[in-house]
């Protein structure tokens, strides 16, 4: 994929959408309008957007996790659908049975997660396997954290994918913390991508705040998968800039660490780069930001007018009736 200025503008736009969606969810949480866990993706914009952008949204498939709102946007998801799902309003594909980014939208080739970390990685592998059996290559991209990487199913799925040379790409989002637990208490290898060799797959560790680097690395992974060379893991190093979820004051994170990572803000740094390279002017960026924000607010207003689903939905669809 040749990095054109048009692509750069799109990367920025998707990152801005992710950030504004995040800001919106934080506001809604404080206003008591968002319930359940509100998991900020602040700091993860470049990883989500750069990775998903490497895929072909018409052919490939996305299995995002809880901090990948940017990936949903890359796959063409609209703000209204996301808001309706997050706030469990009528019109949600999940009918109020579940919320947040857990929905599936087969037409947009997005299959959301369950809460159980790691559980969707074998499922993503199997989705690609179905097409592999039909002689078609469908790349599945999915995500896991520095904590979730320690779940047993991750091991099984990666080994399975490597053995069967499945076109699976696992983005490991190493944002330094798993809830309150730091890397040092989650794993003992140097980089999580060191494990790739043990599975017989490609893997590398990169700066997850650099959207173009994430895109480049993931594009190589997609090409490898399309050549039939199997899965890749890409460890993107970032920082979780807020608590695990909004109830968490993250006082256990050293302030210096947050200050250090604030200088690596993936969105602000990319804006500087784009302005410096004269791809967009500061004014154009301001306009884009304002437009993104006002679109977001409009979608929230529309969503908040919707009622919750009817209670009777709770009794339906435990099984698919033929």
């Amino acid at each position: 994929m040749k990095l054109t200025n048009d692509i750069r503008r799109q990367l920025l736009q998707n990152m801005l959408m992710a950030r504004e969606f995040d800001n919106a969810m934080l506001r809604l949480y404080r206003q008591g309008k968002a319930f359940g866990g509100v998991y900020s993706q602040l700091g993860n914009e470049a990883t989500s957007v750069g990775s998903a952008y490497a895929l072909d949204t018409k052919r490939d498939v996305l299995f995002p996790m809880h901090r990948n709102i940017g990936s949903h946007f890359v796959f063409g998801q609209d703000v209204d659908t996301l808001m309706i799902n997050h706030l469990a309003r009528q019109g949600s594909q999940m009918r109020g049975t579940d919320g947040t980014g857990h929905y599936a939208d087969p037409a947009k080739r997005i299959y959301g997660n369950v809460s159980h970390l790691g559980a969707m990685i074998p499922v993503a592998a199997g989705f690609s396997m179905a097409d592999q059996l039909r002689g078609v290559t469908t790349v599945s991209m999915t995500y896991i954290g520095d904590g979730g990487s320690q779940v047993g199913e991750v091991h099984e799925a990666l080994n399975f994918a490597a053995v069967r040379k499945l076109p699976l790409i696992l983005i490991i989002e190493n944002n330094q913390y798993a809830y309150s637990t730091p890397n040092s208490m989650e794993f003992a290898c140097e980089n999580l991508s060191d494990r790739a060799k043990g599975y017989g797959m490609a893997g590398e560790t990169i700066d997850g705040t650099d959207v173009e680097l994430v895109l480049k690395t993931c594009t190589e992974a997609v090409e490898r998968a399309r050549r039939g060379e199997g899965p890749t893991m890409v460890e993107c190093v970032t920082m979780r800039m807020r608590g695990h979820a909004e109830h968490d004051d993250f006082s256990y994170v050293p302030k210096v660490l947050l200050e250090e990572w604030k200088r690596k803000d993936p969105v602000e740094n990319y804006i500087s780069k784009i302005v410096k390279a004269k791809i967009m002017s500061a004014d154009e960026i301001t306009t884009l930001r304002e437009k993104t924000l006002s679109d977001m607010i409009a979608a929230i207003d529309r969503t908040l007018e919707l009622p919750y689903p009817e209670a009777e939905e709770g009794f339906k669809n435990v099984f698919i009736e033929d």
Binding site: M129, D131, E153, I320
Partner: protein, 325 residues
């Protein structure tokens, strides 16, 4: 009609579906070249090739999880657990992912997880378990426990065609011991209907899986010895459960024994008894008795295993008690 063993009938059902529908494939451990630990898939690799008879690493979560993913993408996987005991390692995938997908997404997960369960064959605590009721409580998962070859085939065909995840419990003790006539070709047994395998008027035994055979043996013995007329009802599928089919027999005899090989407490028998108590209390002439395994792992030594598991004598004893009340 051909006479097939229970094992051959299951294989016949799967083969029928694989011949009919190219989206059906099998995945499991040692099911290809080796033909499966019990040789159930013998010949499948030659007939269908390695794309449809997939030998997987020893990774039950990956086997079940990949099956779910394939099912979401238009396939109909049949995943083998080498022993049903090892479904514990794939439990999360069935319960957390497969069982919640219809409810949350409205998207079908047409998938079968199948394998040999049950004790009485001198295995050990890890190759003998009857864990079917775990999945009854999971919600969103269908649970099938055939007792006869014809049902095993017909229910397997239904399981593969179902739009929902199905856990299919094959009792390994019946694999080669039980033979019967099985219709050739298309033979569909729908879920959610009991089979009255023996008509009677004095006492009803409600059972499934291996306990159906214990009940039949007890019924024949009691008819011979004391002239008791025992009805045996095989519920065949736990989810969906044919409550009315059970109540019909209860209303007829008014005396009931519920039997299964799984351990007593928290077993499906408790659910059956609760439904009877709720819906047919006034028809009862005696308290309902349950026959089940002792609440322990299934032990290894034959003496212990025999003592802990139910058998025809224990079922007969319960029938006598209920009849004499």
């Amino acid at each position: 009609m051909a006479v097939l063993t229970y094992l051959e009938a299951i294989a016949d059902g799967i083969r029928h579906e694989m011949q009919r529908d190219p989206s059906v494939f099998m995945i499991g451990e040692d099911i290809g070249v080796y033909g499966g630990a019990f040789k159930l898939t013998k010949g499948f690799l030659d007939e269908f090739g390695p794309q449809r008879v997939i030998d997987a690493p020893i990774s039950e979560a990956a086997i079940v999880g990949a099956s779910i993913g394939a099912a979401l993408n238009g396939m109909r996987p049949v995943a083998e657990m080498q022993f049903m005991d090892f479904v514990t390692n794939g439990f999360n995938q069935i319960v957390t992912v497969a069982g919640t997908t219809a409810y949350r997404w409205g998207i079908p997960v047409p998938m079968v997880v199948r394998g040999p369960s049950g004790g009485g064959v001198g295995a050990n605590p890890f190759h003998s378990r009857n864990s079917e009721n775990w999945f009854v409580h999971a919600t969103g998962v269908k649970v099938v426990c055939p007792a006869f070859p014809d049902d095993a085939k017909g229910l397997m065909i239904s399981a593969i065609r179902d739009q929902n995840p199905v856990v299919f419990y094959e009792h390994k003790g019946l694999y080669r011991k039980i033979k019967g006539e099985v219709p050739e070709g298309e033979h569909v047994v729908p879920f959610g209907t009991v089979r009255v395998v023996r008509e009677g008027t004095d006492v009803s035994v409600i059972a499934y899986g291996s306990a159906v055979h214990m009940a039949l043996e007890a019924a024949i013995e009691l008819e011979k010895s004391i002239g008791l007329s025992v009805e045996v009802v095989d519920i065949r599928t736990l989810v969906p459960f044919d409550e009315e089919g059970v109540l019909r027999s209860v209303r007829k005899t008014g005396r009931v024994v519920v039997a299964h090989e799984a351990s007593l407490t928290g077993g499906f028998g408790g659910e059956i008894v609760a439904r009877i108590s709720d819906k047919a209390f006034t028809f009862l002439d005696a308290p309902v008795k349950r026959v089940a395994a002792f609440d322990s792992p299934t032990p290894f030594a034959p003496t212990l295993e025999k003592a802990v598991l139910p058998n025809a004598d224990k079922v007969a004893e319960a029938i006598r008690e209920v009849a004499a009340f």
